[in-house]
Assembly symmetry: D2
Homo-oligomer: 333 residues x 4
């Protein structure tokens, strides 16, 4: 076994681990590295419980290699990244609220919802012009017409715009109209798209894939940073598990894990995780309390007639209540 | 329940299903569709075993409309249950805090930690006397000696005691010493133990199994209630998924789901979900914000020498900080 | 589809759902139960989007009776599809064997391995020219140079060529050189790529995503068929679960499930499922025994120096043994 | 990183790994242990791909500690265990077939089914007298009356009997009547039951829990062996995943993994994995082909009237076909 010490571990702490190893009847060989010391355990015939070392002072972890990412890592960039767009800053003390319909359906629908979410405190308007859908027979979005509607929303309300690029064929057009380019969960490992996103001049919101580990999410972000765009916002939106109580299982622990591993901001999408509007407000409270840098929420003034995801969209009253309840939690995170 | 017939099911097969439904004393209404026929079962007050239909000729599948539990259901008992033990009430407005070590190791250890957790606001002392361990060679708990130490902790500190019964051979002894009987995740479907717990006069904390759905957790609680003990507290403690960033994935959405489906109180164990003390405080904030009725937290004054789960135990300072941060969130939930 | 109303749904809410169903041109039949009402939708020939009902007042949930895919379904196309390319037929009695390295590394490497796999009975040579890799710093494939090497392999050995298209920017070039276009697991829901694949004149091997259900896999195949290319081969290659004994969990049951639901051929990739060469041979035996229409296997003459996936590549002797052992099972499936 | 060499690794192989490490610009320090050599990698600043070492000759694994089990391990007991009961041997060349209903319902039912399964080649009769059920309102088994029926089946047919002990309160009675004591998936970590099973004089069939890793299954077996009963048969019966095409996901890879790690025999239960009789035959073929030492199959002469699990029970004709198809695969494994 290899016990990895923290970077700032003292001589005494290293000796403490060696002593513990010797107490157990084994030998501990410290191997100084350029960043930190690792201690190799020798002489054990059988199982050694790693929790015996993990809880000693100065110990960082047992037995794990260094992570495969670099630019996104907090180890190489200890200070948290903040991303400023217009009047808002993502990744700072104050959480950011993005809200709007799943899909842009018409100018009237978009402007109506934008007015509502702005009134209750949203700063960014979300709405899909290009929609990735499981079925080829489902509504696929308005395309460029949708982007033009979004531009009009910005002009009329002053809200910033986030919308999804689903492929290298539309990311340049999305870049032209949007303030933040969204890359969806299904595309988290679409590397050509990630590279292109790395060449745009707009911040990118990268959603975690349904079956992606945190390491894989960070590796995908690394693709974007490695091409020159360091303004990346991560987004937890639920993972696929056996649990059938929600559409996906919101992995709330991802937030402290990502904040520990990376300097990039991270927000939560409770709407896609829950899949049902009834759970969106409690999950939003939890998201802010756990320390997320913001929320992206589906809101529709008439969910019953929404062309997609109506089940998880909040009514205007729901969004108003969400924003009120969040205020109570905000100063904690 | 709805019985879906295969596309090529014959008239006779449809009639066969209807006959079987009528044998059971219900009515079966065939509903012809363009591709296939579905048969709706009407008149059942409770649970109907679907295997009785699934094996009939021509049947494709059964879709269940009504949940299989009764006593634990909010449908049959709309008002939330509160459980009062001594001075505390679980399931009300104010969350309840349980804290202590994974295992009782000695009187000195237990009294020391109990003093600490009481000072910072815990109302219930946790500590295992019987420990279920994956390895037969790991420390298995002090047994009755541990229970006696727990009784002394109560006497000296006034804290209530929660401790685990691991089998029908020790539940009566646990009942004698404890204020709340814990049934652990590995025993969530140990039905003999559940039935015995239903005969005790103490409240029972029932933890969700690693791979249990919410419905299965509620069915296990139904075992306890059906034997006469309705003072059951549920506990979400993380589920097993592919995600490797935490020991288990805390299913935070379970709280609003359980509160919607059942009248029983539900708390969160962030320590076992996280598996690492670094994440316990943010997860505790999230737990309170999402609406949990309390927390159960591992605390140890000397985690490096704990006989089990030292990696996830908070230091006293950590627990102090947790309780301070929680206060900010409390009034929201 | 069946729309389940909440227990306390009003007469008006039930009527609202019926009205919405009639607006869509179908019939809605309310079926009152002892606890709640369900409404059956009759008269739809195809897919009905459930979100249209889920967001109506009083609706609890929707239960789907008919699957959302059409062209790939065995219900609409009962006879199994066979795909003939050159001398081989995929989807018939005789399983097809595809083998080769993870990546094309050089002409010498490709020709060497092709000679080996041909000698032991492979009919198709696999090798990646474009490699989707989690890390931007990993080897990304030789690109068009790799495709030219593959063409040379075909010329010299007579083997057919399968290689992966990773994006709409390279699928046309892949189409030019390959006999079968592979779409990898990470791209299973890259819909632009699927549509383009639907416009090519080459058969497409579509791999199941790590977290994809069988229905989602079939829906992705539906994208390809709906654009005019009906020569699609499905591939099970392991799903992501908690189990850590293999890189992914081979879902062997997927084969009878897919064969029941769809007329398309389906093969198994045991190499990516196992992640370790030690398990590739037993899994291959199981794959043939369960009824798969073929195998795609990683083989390398020098795995220790392979640029990727060396751990799961068979040595030439291993592939020889695999092909011998398979012969014993072949006539069963 | 720590590279673990095989026990029989040569000096040259160790040097080969050191050379590879040095090629990469790092230092490799061999640390001879009592059983084998480990090589510690020093001097790497970042990520080292472990596949570079895993595929070198003589390398066993990277970075993992020795497993926590001893008695069940093939390392401490290289020769495969065979268990002989009456005329049959489990764990040898010839697979063993266990078959019968989910639950013993009546003497007539048991004798009828036993006659059928014996006729087509089963050697062990399965049937539950104590049934663990998710719902307290479901049929819980005939208890001792069921055991007496099983004894009569043995007397009349000569078949051996396997039946489940669900708790420490019934294991002694089960021991009295059964030839093999079954411990079910829900009880895989019921340690009191495992210890009691270790004190019986009958072989024990231990089923893998729904969310158990192979290591955990082996640790549970270790409980039984550590109490003195070394006649343990393991059983893979499907794990819980997101995949909804079967009731559980049969982890077919578990067989080669267990055979590599342990000397104990391992069989497969395709009925509980599939949850539908349509898939039981192909999964049984796969089970034998992958190398399982036997099968345990649910068969019912009248599944439509079975009190439990009728959906997954084979009809007599189905079992006959299964046994015929299996014969074709048998000599391969």
């Amino acid at each position: 076994m290899l016990v990895i010490m923290k970077n700032d571990a003292t001589e005494e702490q290293v000796q403490g681990v060696v002593n513990r190893i010797e107490d157990l009847g084994f030998r501990g060989i410290p191997i100084p590295g350029s960043l930190r010391t690792a201690i190799c355990i020798v002489g054990n015939q059988g199982y050694v419980e790693d929790s015996q070392f993990l809880s000693l002072d100065g110990v960082k972890e047992c037995l794990r290699v260094t992570r495969p990412y670099k630019l996104v890592s907090r180890e190489t960039h200890p200070q948290s990244t903040t991303i400023t767009i217009g009047d808002i800053t993502i990744g700072g003390e104050k959480p950011v609220f993005m809200a709007g319909p799943c899909a842009v359906e018409s100018e009237k629908q978009a402007i109506t919802i934008a007015g509502i979410v702005k009134r209750f405190g949203a700063e960014v308007f979300r709405g899909g012009a290009y929609k990735p859908r499981s079925s080829p027979y489902s509504f696929q979005g308005l395309g460029e017409e949708g982007l033009k509607i979004l531009a009009k929303v910005r002009q009329e309300t002053g809200l910033l715009i986030i919308t999804e690029a689903t492929d290298i064929s539309n990311i340049e057009m999305v870049e032209e109209y949007a303030d933040i380019i969204q890359i969806g969960a299904r595309n988290m490992q679409n590397y050509a798209l990630l590279r292109k996103a790395g060449h745009t001049r707009k911040p990118v919101l990268l959603k975690r894939g349904l079956a992606a580990t945190i390491d894989e999410l960070l590796m995908s972000a690394e693709y974007i940073l490695s091409e020159g765009n360091s303004r990346v916002i991560l987004c937890e939106r639920g993972i696929r598990t056996f649990a059938d109580n929600t559409r996906n299982t919101l992995d709330i622990s991802a937030i402290p894990c990502i904040i520990e591993a990376s300097h990039l901001p991270v927000i939560i999408d409770p709407s896609h995780a829950a899949g049902r509007r009834e759970y969106v407000i409690p999950l939003s409270r939890a998201a802010i309390a756990v320390g997320a840098h913001g929320l992206i929420i589906e809101v529709h003034h008439d969910p019953a007639h929404a062309v997609s995801d109506g089940r998880q969209s909040l009514y205007p009253e729901g969004f108003e209540r969400l924003m009120q309840e969040i205020k109570e939690v905000v100063h904690v995170a």
